[in-house]
């Protein structure tokens, strides 16, 4: 056990009677405050002002946040695929990169100090930071609130957010998320609120994405591939979006070959999934431009 020891030997600056000793005794702290890692403080408000929260709800909320952050990180690295839904296909690298951990809980509240390590890494040839993950998280949560099903994000993200529904049906009134990454951003000044209405909006967005309809009509795009053995083709409807596959009738064979690489208007039965063209059965093809459309990324 260490003992407190005193001595009558005082520092010289004190005993020599310098008038400045008081200043020297009060030397200030030296140093800097560290940068905060990217974080997502989350406040859980129980129903009816309840003073407790079930472990089930807490667990659902934590899993929902973790799954959403991982899905968002996947989007950040590989781009948004509106129909991506299987989280098992997300790489281990991404899953580990976007791992959220909890800082000590503040006593007397349900504020979850969810944090990611402040990291930069390269996955699939792309350099990404955990700060970008949190930025995309903010973008997705507020984007869904504003734009609903129009906001481009994957089914995996939507499904992850929907996991909050279990807690909201049980004993949670709402969850406030205030992601940030600096002291300057005041936490909870303008949080994203996840309540039953928000979850319904997310569910509707997911259902809209999965809704199917087929109608006879025309669709424009660039004919990117033609398979004459199986009478199939691929149409680039919009740059950066998935290419739409299709089939054509025998009578169109020559026209399809001549239109390869050009801008075309295809008429036939178009199947839509979530509002986006998903498959085409072509009965007519018109070449819009005889110029070959360049292949460009993005």
């Amino acid at each position: 056990v260490r003992e407190i020891k005193t001595t009558s030997k005082l520092p010289n600056w004190f005993t020599t009677g310098d008038a400045d000793y008081a200043i020297v005794a009060d030397m200030p702290e030296i140093g800097y405050s560290p940068d905060l890692p990217p974080r997502i403080p989350t406040r859980v408000i129980p129903r009816n002002g309840g003073g407790h929260l079930s472990f089930d709800s807490l667990s659902d909320i934590l899993l929902s946040i973790q799954h959403t952050v991982i899905s968002v990180a996947h989007e950040l690295v590989y781009g948004v695929d509106l129909f991506f839904r299987d989280m098992r296909k997300i790489s281990k690298e991404v899953t580990q990169f976007a791992r959220v951990h909890a800082e000590p809980f503040e006593e007397g509240s349900f504020i979850i100090h969810a944090e990611l390590d402040d990291r930069t890494t390269e996955i699939g040839g792309k350099k990404v930071t955990t700060r970008q993950v949190v930025e995309r998280y903010v973008e997705v949560l507020s984007g869904i609130a504003k734009e609903g099903h129009e906001f481009p994000t994957s089914l995996a993200v939507l499904h992850s957010i929907e996991e909050m529904d279990k807690a909201l049906k049980r004993d949670v009134a709402r969850v406030e998320l205030a992601p940030s990454g600096s002291y300057e951003q005041e936490a909870f000044s303008s949080p994203v609120v996840i309540d039953p209405d928000y979850v319904i909006q997310v569910m509707n967005a997911r259902l809209h994405r999965l809704s199917r309809r087929t109608e006879y009509g025309s669709i424009k795009g660039v004919l990117r591939a033609v398979d004459t053995t199986q009478r199939r083709f691929k149409l680039e409807v919009e740059r950066g979006r998935p290419i739409v596959p299709g089939e054509y009738i025998e009578e169109l064979e020559v026209q399809m070959i001549l239109a390869l690489g050009k801008s075309v208007q295809i008429t036939g039965y178009v199947s839509y999934l979530g509002g986006a063209p998903h498959q085409i059965k072509a009965t007519l093809v018109d070449t819009v431009s005889n110029q070959l459309a360049p292949f460009k990324r993005g």
């Binding site: 010289n12 004190f14 030296i30 140093g31 560290p34």
Partner: protein, 230 residues
């Protein structure tokens, strides 16, 4: 300047702190508290996490509930984390104990370039911190005084022992600290005038926005000599 290293060993110095009310105690009755300055260990980490950081949290909460000015910058420090970190490898970590009480810590980095002595290096002080209980705040009064000064003198001793000839560099933590160095320099010119735009450690990205101070070696040695054993 060339220093005779034999004149400077740890055993030759005796670092102490004073009771916070020292100005009201008659000189003949005044006793100083002996400080043991050691390398940080697991005990320090437990003390930082269990005592210091809880006091930081309490003070932050007070400022938040009382709607007062923001809590002091040091309440955002993470001494327990720094204590346990292996990176950066060149961080040298010391702790000042007064009996069972962890009363201060000093983190320094070797081999930083001197701004005032071309081609020379300094021992760079990354953090000097007193225990929160030894700092006056809105909710408590300090118990001990002079811990920061003793740790600064200890940094000067380390500078000499590591071959930097009493050159110590640091960045003021805020405008209050900056004011302290300006006033101190009018009475005891321990530091060269502050300079803006000087970089710090890779972890301190905002260092160039704060004034940098570097010791005047002769004056720094004068401060160290104040703690030499009789």
């Amino acid at each position: 300047m060339s220093l005779s290293r034999e004149r400077f060993t740890l055993a030759q110095f005796h670092f102490t702190a004073l009771p916070a009310n020292y100005q009201h105690v008659p000189l003949e009755q005044l006793k100083a508290f002996e400080l043991d300055i050691l390398e940080q260990d697991d005990e320090c980490q437990k003390y930082f996490a269990g005592v210091w950081e809880r006091m930081y949290m309490a003070l932050e909460k007070h400022h938040s509930l009382a709607n007062e000015s923001p809590s002091p910058g040091w309440t955002k420090w993470k001494p327990a984390t720094w204590c346990g970190q292996r990176d950066p490898e060149d961080r040298q970590k010391f702790a000042a104990w007064c009996g069972p009480n962890l009363v201060g810590f000093l983190n320094v980095r070797a081999d930083y370039p001197s701004i005032f002595s071309s081609g020379e290096k300094v021992l760079y002080v990354e953090h000097v911190g007193s225990a929160p209980g030894n700092l006056s705040t809105e909710i408590w009064e300090k118990r001990l005084a002079g811990i920061g000064t003793a740790l600064m003198a200890y940094a000067v001793l380390q500078s000499v022992l590591q071959g930097y000839e009493a050159r110590v560099g640091l960045h003021a933590s805020d405008s209050t600290a900056d004011g302290f160095y300006l006033t101190l320099n009018q009475k005891r010119p321990i530091f060269h005038p502050g300079r803006q735009g000087v970089g710090g450690t890779p972890q301190d990205r905002r260092a160039p926005q704060r004034p940098y101070y570097e010791t005047v070696p002769e004056q720094a040695l004068h401060l160290l000599e104040d703690y030499r054993r009789a």
